[in-house]
């Protein structure tokens, strides 16, 4: 089931890329689909849907620092 969803979303994201949408729209669609696929992998394969709180604490810190890293180009301009 998860595999079917991941495979289908891969086909969708590739198909959308062949439409050659404007860059901002294409980026939004590509990242949204990648986000859903990533959530499926993390949630089901890495079983985060039923994980202990300490793992979420680590991931929360990771998320914050990851966002800071991604924002660095914006902040530094």
């Amino acid at each position: 089931m998860v595999f079917a969803a991941l495979a289908a979303l891969t086909v969708v994201t590739v198909t959308v890329s062949y439409l050659h949408l404007p860059f901002r729209k294409a980026m939004a669609v590509a990242l949204a689909i990648a986000g859903v696929k990533g959530s499926l992998v993390a949630g089901f394969f890495m079983h985060l849907i039923s994980e202990k709180q300490v793992i979420f604490a680590i991931l929360a810190f990771t998320g914050i620092f990851f966002l800071v890293l991604l924002m660095l180009p914006v902040i530094s301009v």
Partner: protein
């Protein structure tokens, strides 16, 4: 005198998880920062470049799509290998772990063909910023796949010795190897659209 790491098979009473799993997640957190730094560099370089080519103009999208499906399938076989060993079915575990290793190799072989075609057309990391980013990100990811294959190979053959001594600890190790393998899949899920499709 040996330094014994406690709670590697049984969950720690405070955290509720084994120290092995906790350590693996801390390692994965550091990996997020490693790839995060490179993604950040990619955004900075791309947004400040006067012009930037579309990935699909220069790269082989069908091959990368195939590799995406290969990696997703390998994640499924990894889950099945862990589920098999969790119920004590060693032959089935070997089948699924072997399949995971094989699919990892398929990914690298496809990647080798992709790189080979690039080198044939004289496209190297030094060619321009696009290829520098492309080779750095996909190359580092490829090294992670190779690392995962080596770990999985160990758990496929010599590592199973532990299963006879301590099945619970071995199952935990396979779970941790799985977490790493799924993380490598997760990185590719973001690499593929951002490098190849945009």
């Amino acid at each position: 005198m040996s330094a014994l790491i406690r709670y590697i098979a049984k969950p720690h009473p405070v955290t509720g998880v084994t120290n092995a799993k906790l350590g693996t997640w801390c390692f994965l957190a550091s990996e997020v920062m490693l790839f995060g730094g490179l993604f950040s560099a990619y955004i900075l370089i791309r947004t400040s470049a006067p012009s930037w080519p579309h990935g699909w103009e220069l790269l082989n999208v069908p091959l990368a799509t195939l590799n995406t499906l290969v990696l997703i399938t390998s994640s499924v076989t990894m889950v099945l290998s862990w589920a098999s060993i969790a119920v004590g079915n060693l032959p089935q575990y070997r089948f699924y772990m072997g399949s995971t290793v094989l699919l990892g190799f398929v990914f690298l072989v496809v990647k080798t063909f992709e790189y080979g075609a690039k080198f044939l057309h004289h496209h190297f990391p030094s060619t321009d910023l696009f290829y520098a980013i492309y080779f750095t990100l996909t190359g580092l990811h490829g090294l992670h796949v190779l690392g995962g294959i080596l770990v999985n190979l160990y758990f496929l053959f010599p590592g199973t010795g532990l299963w006879r001594e301590d099945a619970e600890q071995f199952t935990g190790r396979v779970e941790c190897a799985g977490l790493y393998w799924h993380f490598v899949d997760l990185v590719w899920i973001f690499l593929f659209p951002t490098i190849y499709l945009l």
